[in-house]
Assembly symmetry: C3
Homo-oligomer: 136 residues x 3
């Protein structure tokens, strides 16, 4: 069994933004030299998340962001958290901070239209994404 | 360490539908001959997802579908994606495309009422589900 | 490769409640004696879930609960499931029942503000959480 790990740096430029990190994750898989296994992606923040969705038409992730903002607006009369970013924490739990993708032939195995997105919900900030590959 | 992988075919018959794939996934675990490990389930589509929920009363998944359609209706004035299926992409990211289940004694280890559902959000289509088992 | 597994018991005291299980999961990782790998957390229930979010200010998880109750109220005219807890099943699929966290140096590797929460959506009940550690 082989295990390999790297930390990615992601700089976000808006309060809410999806950043395509597919190529960065692919680079980690290549560096791991693991032929067959699983690639784990983990976001160590509580106001961000990670998701997989279409990477062809940028309107797709923009529509996801628009809808998340309607479902979970920045301000609600019942929010008590004093930092004023409860919406970002809620979005983080709805989307999730951990994901796994298959690794075959030393490459990420994604569907034809899939890309991996870091989801910023309370930026702009400097963020980290942890990537671990386990296999043989 | 042993690693085993299969691809499942799922045919959906409606635009939005949850298909119980528990037995198909169990079959992959059996074929893997792995006694103790993890079974990873990955949906390689951007308008579908995978979830675990009750498989006793079919009204449960029907109620989940009804509510998802209320929360994320097919049409919203602010959707820009030209294919007209932004709701399906949003539902995919809310539910998620990757899941893992424990494998013990060469069997999937699920809770008493749990089943694994392929979630179609833009069917009917022919779909794939990737299943990988890693363990010993 | 080493594999280790334990079952945690969680007692909930309200219908909807997030219980911080970080220390219990850390204890399992310690007991596993695994230095480097992945810790898998699985909730074997269909009206509960597991999430990672801030563990500093308790208002964060309270705000998440308040918002989930607004998005998915207990009663909707279109719910058909006869047990009257469809909202709990829906919340379970929105948040998810499986998660993974990295293990490094025989410890859970979480972000600075992150804690692991068992999410009760139909309590109070006696619940289980399955934890498996795989690595070397």
């Amino acid at each position: 069994m082989k295990i390999y790990e790297e930390e990615l740096a992601v700089k976000t430029t808006k309060r809410i933004e999806f950043v395509n990190i597919t190529h960065k994750v692919e680079e980690v898989v290549k560096n791991s030299n693991i032929s067959n296994g699983i690639c784990y992606i983990f976001v160590p923040h509580t106001t961000a998340a990670v998701t997989i969705n279409e990477d062809a038409d940028p309107d797709v992730v923009n529509d996801i962001i628009s809808k998340l903002n309607v479902l979970v607006p920045k301000n609600e009369s019942f929010y008590n958290h004093i930092e004023g970013n409860s919406d970002a924490h809620i979005k983080s739990s709805l989307i999730g901070v951990s994901l796994e993708v298959f690794v075959n032939n030393k490459k990420l195995k994604l569907g034809r239209w899939q890309g991996i997105y870091f989801c910023e919900f309370d930026g702009p900030r400097y963020r980290s994404v942890w990537v671990k590959v386990l296999g043989e």
